[in-house]
């Protein structure tokens, strides 16, 4: 194992259901994530990328292999996950939701924590809505709130599972930019799952491509774009377009393979 690695995924497999005949989501995956790295994982639907990040989040256990994560500072939580679905608590106010991560992880430190929560509420533009309940917020605001909740805990590793997938295009563009500038300020280690190839290139230090199920890593691309990045301006550059096209070339055959598997699973004869 790479000693410097923050996260080391070693020969991890995950089978759902029967160990032999069940669904093999990922199989024999190896991955090393550096300290302070922003890693993006892209892959076709059903390739097991969500399974992998859920294992890192402690929500699933591998069927084989192991994931090692280095927890350096016990005063900070090891991971905080930002989910694709709505995950803010409808029974708490905006401010209580933003504070929840710190309280639940047992890292609440009184006034200092309260200041942190307020800081991220300001940063996500939710401060003036702090006494509202999520039911009164738009989808984009709710997702910003779950970002605030995760950032407020100051985790060593931020896990994001397609956090912008449910947002409309305009909101997504803005949120990418906001996320980039928040992260550039704190530089925690990030694992970011996405369908968006351009999103991966614009946000990541490195993009890895996963094959169709059972998922394996088939491509590794370092993104050397300088930081701080202006994701909206960068989007129009030829450099980003070239990298996105290159990723798409790799992914295309996998997406086709994934489609094939899907029709086979559904019993189509064509």
């Amino acid at each position: 194992m790479d000693v410097a690695a923050k996260i080391a995924v070693e020969g991890v497999a995950k089978v759902f259901g029967d160990p032999v005949r069940g669904f093999r989501a990922i199989d024999g995956v190896d991955l090393s994530v550096r300290q302070g790295e922003f890693l993006c994982i892209v892959g076709p639907s059903g390739c097991g990328k969500s399974t992998l990040i859920r294992m890192m989040a402690g929500l699933e256990t591998p069927t084989a292999g192991a994931i090692r994560m280095r927890h350096d500072d016990p005063a900070r939580p090891l991971t905080a996950m930002i989910f694709q679905q709505e995950s803010v608590f409808p029974w708490l106010t905006v401010a209580q939701n933003a504070a929840y991560g710190l309280q639940a992880s047992g890292t609440w430190r009184g006034a200092e924590s309260r200041e942190r929560v307020e800081y991220f509420l300001h940063k996500t533009g939710l401060y003036s809505f702090r006494d509202f309940r999520p039911g009164q917020l738009s989808g984009g605001m709710k997702q910003r709130l779950s970002i605030a909740r995760a950032f407020a805990t100051n985790p060593e590793i931020l896990l994001m599972d397609e956090p912008f997938a449910a947002l409309d295009e305009q909101n997504k563009l803005l949120m990418q930019q906001e996320l980039a500038s928040l992260w550039e300020e704190f530089r925690s280690t990030v694992v970011f799952i996405t369908h968006g190839l351009d999103e991966a290139v614009l946000l990541g230090d490195r993009v890895v491509v996963m094959s169709s199920a059972p998922g394996r890593f088939i491509r590794n691309m370092e993104i050397t774009l300088p930081r701080p990045r202006d994701s909206i301006a960068l989007r129009r550059t030829a450099e980003v377009a070239a990298m996105t096209a290159e990723l798409w070339e790799t992914l295309r055959t996998e997406v086709e393979a994934a489609r094939q598997q899907e029709s086979q699973r559904l019993g189509a004869t064509a």
Binding site: T79, S87, P90, S105, R133, G135
Partner: protein, 266 residues
């Protein structure tokens, strides 16, 4: 030939008169018909006294200590029965929702015992606890326990998994998960349970007071039959009906106050 279709703006509606009165009119019409039938002798007033007669009796009774004593003792029986069954019911329901072993242990037990009409146990409870108040509390409490545990359990199960996953990802303690996710998630279920419980508690109260009490609203209805004071009997019906209405209004208000995110999302 071409035609122009006009999509016109809504005409302003007649406000005020529209919906509210209908809900008041139907019971009023019924009462008026009843009153008329009683006065003209179309119905036997020995069984169906006129609404005005019942109301007069009610006003007279409301000035007696006996009336208030009956009401107080009935409310006390319901209140204590509700607390005795409801609090353990909620705790067991939460535990069943959260811990697999507890669920596996309690679920068949509750499923097997729930369909038994608990009032059938009254003679046994009388044997154990005697004719005093305890047997009355316990009869109500047993029912409430089952209803509350089942509805709380259903409430926990209906809580979206994602909320538990948020807590688990942050490595929240069991207790923290219990208090911050399972309990608020189960609150809508708890209120459903409470609503059913209050209705059931009233039925049981009357049943218990018919058979084993010497005070209370149920007892007064029964006693009115034995002495053939039909008006008094109707006052008992009226009080029970008003109690049922008051309970459901109270639970509605409590629900709006406790879980403002659930209904209306204000």
């Amino acid at each position: 030939m071409a035609r122009t279709i006009t999509i016109a703006a809504d005409k302003p509606r007649h406000r005020g008169l529209s919906r509210v009165p209908l809900g008041l009119i139907s019971p009023l019409v019924l009462l008026l018909a009843w009153e008329a039938a009683a006065r003209t002798g179309a119905i036997n007033t020995a069984f169906f006294p006129a609404p005005t007669t019942i109301l007069t009796t009610a006003v007279t009774q409301a000035q007696t200590a006996m009336f208030w004593n009956d009401l107080a003792i009935s409310l006390k029986r319901i209140g204590i029965g509700l607390a005795m069954g409801g609090i353990p019911g909620v705790l067991v329901g939460l535990a069943m929702g959260l811990f697999r072993p507890i669920r596996d242990a309690f679920n068949p037990l509750i499923a097997a015992l729930f369909p038994i009409p608990k009032i059938a146990l009254l003679p046994l409870l009388l044997l154990i606890f005697g004719m005093g108040e305890t047997s009355k509390y316990v009869t109500i409490a047993i029912n409430v326990f089952f209803l509350m545990s089942i509805n709380t359990f259903a409430g926990v199960l209906a809580t979206p998994r994602i909320y538990f996953e948020v807590a688990r990802n942050l490595r929240a303690s069991r207790l923290k998960t219990y208090v911050s996710v399972a309990l608020p998630g189960a609150l809508p279920g708890i209120f459903t349970g409470l609503r059913i419980c209050l209705g059931t508690a009233l039925i049981l109260l009357v049943a218990v007071e018919f058979s084993t009490a010497d005070s209370g609203i149920g007892y007064r209805i029964w006693w009115a039959w034995t002495v053939f004071w039909v008006d008094t009997m109707y006052v008992g019906f009226l009080v029970i009906a008003l109690l049922g209405y008051a309970f459901s209004t109270l639970v509605d208000a409590l629900e709006r106050w406790t879980i403002p995110w659930h209904k209306g999302q204000s």
